[in-house]
Amino acid sequence: MTEKFGKVERLDAFRWRLPRSYKDGMRVEGKIIAGEALMESICRDQAVEQVANVAFLPGIVGTSMAMPDIHWGYGFPIGGVAAMAVEDGVVSPGGVGYDINCGMRLLKSNLTLPDIEGRLESLIDALFQAVPSGVGEKGRIRLQERDLNRVLEQGARWAIREGYGWNEDLEFTEAGGALPSARAGEVSERAKTRGLGQLGTLGAGNHFLEVQVVEEIYDPVAAGAFGLFPGQITVMIHSGSRGLGHQVCTDFIERMNRAVNKYGIHLPDRQLCCAPIRSPEGEQYLAAMAAAANYAWANRQAIAHWTRGAFEKVFGLSAEKMGLSLVYDVAHNIAKIEEYEIEGKMKMLCVHRKGATRSFPPGHPEVPAAHRAVGQAVLVPGDMGRGSYILSGTEKAMQETFGSTCHGAGRLLSRGEAKRRTDSRELMARLRGQGIIVRSASLGTLAEEGPEAYKDVTGVVESAQGAGISRKVARMRPVAVMKG
């Protein structure tokens, strides 16, 4: 069994160990959480090497980890989790990603498919009109720089004060929708220029807004706590910090490239560029990253608000009457300062989650009171044909993966290959035949995002469950999809 995957050792059906001898220079071991079937494809790309490379980072605590959806990325693998001690460890922009606080938001309702079926076309049209999407699309929110600074420091709280949503939304958003460590002054003028025109836009690529129906409940108690029931209509939003976040990442990668020489940090891969957390570069990055994260939360809050508006327009009822409340909003590209017990002592760690979602357990104070008995809601998108999952966080995740789990299905086909195999119009017709209406701002690139282009997220979610780092609560299938 061990020869099959080279130097990677099997610990159990869902855990694989990279010993420090895997690569000379590893400060800690590596650990991959995945079922054996997933390991085949994981070992085929450079991802395992990247897990080993991350183990070189100064101050890394525990192990360099990979979630079941791991695939290679820039420096850090996507699906990578690494925690560094705040006192002597580093922070790395590559461990967060270009799209800072790319994340998920799920709205629920008291509607069922029969309630909306007759007007599904009108609904998706209304959503398409209400939420700007696609490349080059300008946002609906007019901002001056001083307003933008408030967005960067107050995130979703700013959005709600401006009328984009309900106060209670904040309780069901990770970090209350705003990281207090954000400093607008650390975000460059270039990033702000890009952000000014894009607040309240969905973006393109794999971002989406999807009307779904809850198809299967796996954990009735947790589903009850989250307010979910079979046949219920939900809306899932996938979006991030847009060009502002990308520019923050680009800016700090450049600065960190210079910082590694200054601090004498030797790296096996330039893309792991970093700086000590307690250095000007490290502190500035974390403050700018928090600001970009807040921008993304404001963004998803505005999009959710317009989603409610579209439902109101089409069905002639208030969003409150339709029960369109927020289940949860969670990031999957972010670095958080969190406290964990390490060898009997409480330690502040900077947890990098790049293509990984926080998965806090029952009883954790950061989990909303209404969910606390069952654990934090984890939102895992699939593809537009097969649907998505909601999971709950576990104590095992807290002990083993710094409270983290998977984030979604990885790509199977390149964009070019997906376009060669599938015609966008044919794809839309096929999905319609399956009862799924699609609206896309860019028909030319829709095929790149079709179901064939993605792996099946079920395998990922099952692996995470098998390892005990999250538990399946429900599965939702799409009925109407909006893409940028």
Binding site: Y74, Q247, Q271, S414
Partner: protein, 144 residues
């Protein structure tokens, strides 16, 4: 050179991203062709009219970071100012100080005439090496 025609740039498939392979007879020509490759990724640049000129500058600590910086600057101009480019001329490339000055020509994005092809989130260092072997080449992975 022996008159062999060099492929200016090539867009290659990759699972989650896009690879841009560019080449040139000189570093400056390599940078120019990498920029043209980027333009072709962003939009149907044949339809972009070179009406207005824009000055593009960038700096780095080596040729690789200079190339990343240069392409990032072009992406910034596209996103922040809604500018599409179809032509570029390298005025100066200082290989010692790693500075570049260029003039890009294009126009403002017009949804009635231009189609935006893809959205580039970042220019990465993944496997990036600016090398010379018969010609100057580089392969850049772009996060889309």
């Amino acid at each position: 050179m022996d008159g062999k025609k060099l492929q200016k740039f090539l867009i290659l498939d990759h699972t989650a991203d896009v690879r841009l392979r560019a080449s040139g007879e000189s570093p400056a020509e390599l940078f120019k062709n990498a920029a043209l490759g980027l333009f072709s990724l962003l939009s149907d640049y044949e339809k972009v009219r070179p009406c207005d000129s824009y000055s593009i500058t960038a700096s780095g600590t080596d040729l690789e970071s200079l190339l990343v910086s240069f392409l990032s600057e072009l992406i910034y101009q596209f996103e922040a100012r809604q500018l599409l480019f179809s032509e570029i001329e390298i005025r100066r490339l200082d290989e010692g100080a790693f500075l570049i000055e260029a003039t890009a020509r294009g126009e403002k994005y017009d949804p009635s005439r231009h189609v935006i092809r893809s959205y580039v989130k970042g220019v990465t260092y993944h496997g990036l090496k600016v090398e010379y072997e018969e010609s100057w080449t580089a392969e850049i992975v772009l996060d889309v």
